[in-house]
């Protein structure tokens, strides 16, 4: 069975930690980091990277366009 796997890259310095991507994610992949970036914001990161399906919802709602999304179809049986 083909499984879709995705991954997101958050531009840490551009992220303002608004948390809208965390809510938009249908698989609870993203979370706000306890650490802060140089401007003091709790930037988003992939807490459960294995759940990401690369749907781009997080990137679509991101007001600071700091998320890049990648997606791959792996021919692995699960």
């Amino acid at each position: 069975m083909a499984k879709v796997r995705g991954a997101v890259v958050v531009d840490i310095e551009a992220c303002k930690g608004c948390g809208l991507c965390v809510v938009a994610c249908p698989h609870q992949v993203l979370a706000q980091n306890k650490q802060v970036n140089s401007r003091g914001y709790h930037y988003s990161f992939m807490e459960h990277a294995e759940n990401c399906i690369g749907c781009s919802n997080c990137a679509v709602v991101c007001p600071d366009t700091c998320i890049t999304v990648y997606r791959v179809k792996s021919e692995k049986t699960v």
Binding site: V23, V72, K76
Partner: protein
């Protein structure tokens, strides 16, 4: 499969539009302006009209929009963007002209300008960001502020007796014969963002086809002005703004034909 194996150029599905500059916006965290900027950049890029698009941004938080979208921009006096856009569109009809205005700008000080520009059927696109508050100056009451809404100048909530009714300017514009496309959208969920993108694309296509004025209201949040977190602000908007400002197309067509309109007038 490791995350590192997925993050490769050939697997890219979503990245920043090239028209958006790398500068970090001055907007507050979670501000809807950022999403609308991104959508505009995407639509302009998609239509391939970067070289001939001119944006007009008057006073408001988005006054610095020229820093973020790599197209030509013109600043305008408070509320006067539709008048300036009219001038640009008439002098150079090949250009695609749009204005980017907030609710304090468009619905308050610039009411006359937008009404007459839309009534003349100018071939411009108007992007109207409605967050029911004057965000830039510190959250004062705007004409679009909801009844009972607490702002810096209505600490006990907007009062009908003292402050009057909230203004549904998009419905008013929808009545005008010069308007081609009038729509109200939002950008709080991925689905809403995608719909808003379609509405903006249609507006720019209308401007290119010289169909008349296209008007897209984006019901937005102002988490700083509303004193809420961005996520709470989205929820507040869904619960309070949407019942009064319902999402959807109000008018979709083109401006009235001169012949038909004259006959109608004479019959009356």
């Amino acid at each position: 499969m490791d995350v590192k194996d997925i993050i490769k150029e050939e697997n890219l599905v979503y990245s920043k539009p090239s028209l958006l500059s790398d500068k970090i916006t001055h907007y507050c965290p979670g501000c809807s302006h950022g999403v609308v900027h991104k959508l505009l950049a995407e639509v302009i890029e998609e239509l391939g009209i970067q070289e001939k698009t001119i944006g007009v941004s008057p006073v408001g938080c988005a006054v610095f929009a020229y820093n973020y979208i790599e197209i030509d921009w013109q600043e305008a006096a408070h509320g006067r963007a539709p008048a300036v856009a009219t001038g640009i569109a008439r002098v150079d009809p090949d250009k695609v002209v749009f204005t980017y205005q907030g609710d304090g700008d468009l619905a308050s000080i610039g009411t006359a300008e937008i009404m007459h520009a839309a009534n003349r059927g100018e071939n411009i696109v108007v992007v109207f960001i409605n967050n029911a508050i004057y965000g830039m100056t510190g959250g004062q009451m705007a004409p679009t502020t909801l009844l009972g809404q607490v702002t810096a100048t209505t600490p006990c909530g907007r009062d009908l007796e003292r402050n009057g009714y909230p203004l549904k300017i998009t419905e008013l514009i929808g009545q005008l014969p010069g308007a081609a496309y009038v729509s109200r959208q939002s950008v709080h969920t991925p689905a809403a963002v995608r719909k808003c993108r379609k509405a903006l694309r249609k507006s720019f296509e209308n401007a290119m086809a010289k169909k008349g004025t296209s008007f897209v209201e984006v019901v937005s949040t102002c988490s700083s002005g509303w004193r809420l977190s961005p996520v709470e602000a989205n929820k507040w908007m869904e619960e309070n703004m949407f019942p009064f400002y319902p999402i959807g197309d109000i008018k979709d067509g083109q401006k009235a034909e001169a012949g038909d309109f004259m006959q109608q007038n004479l019959k009356n």
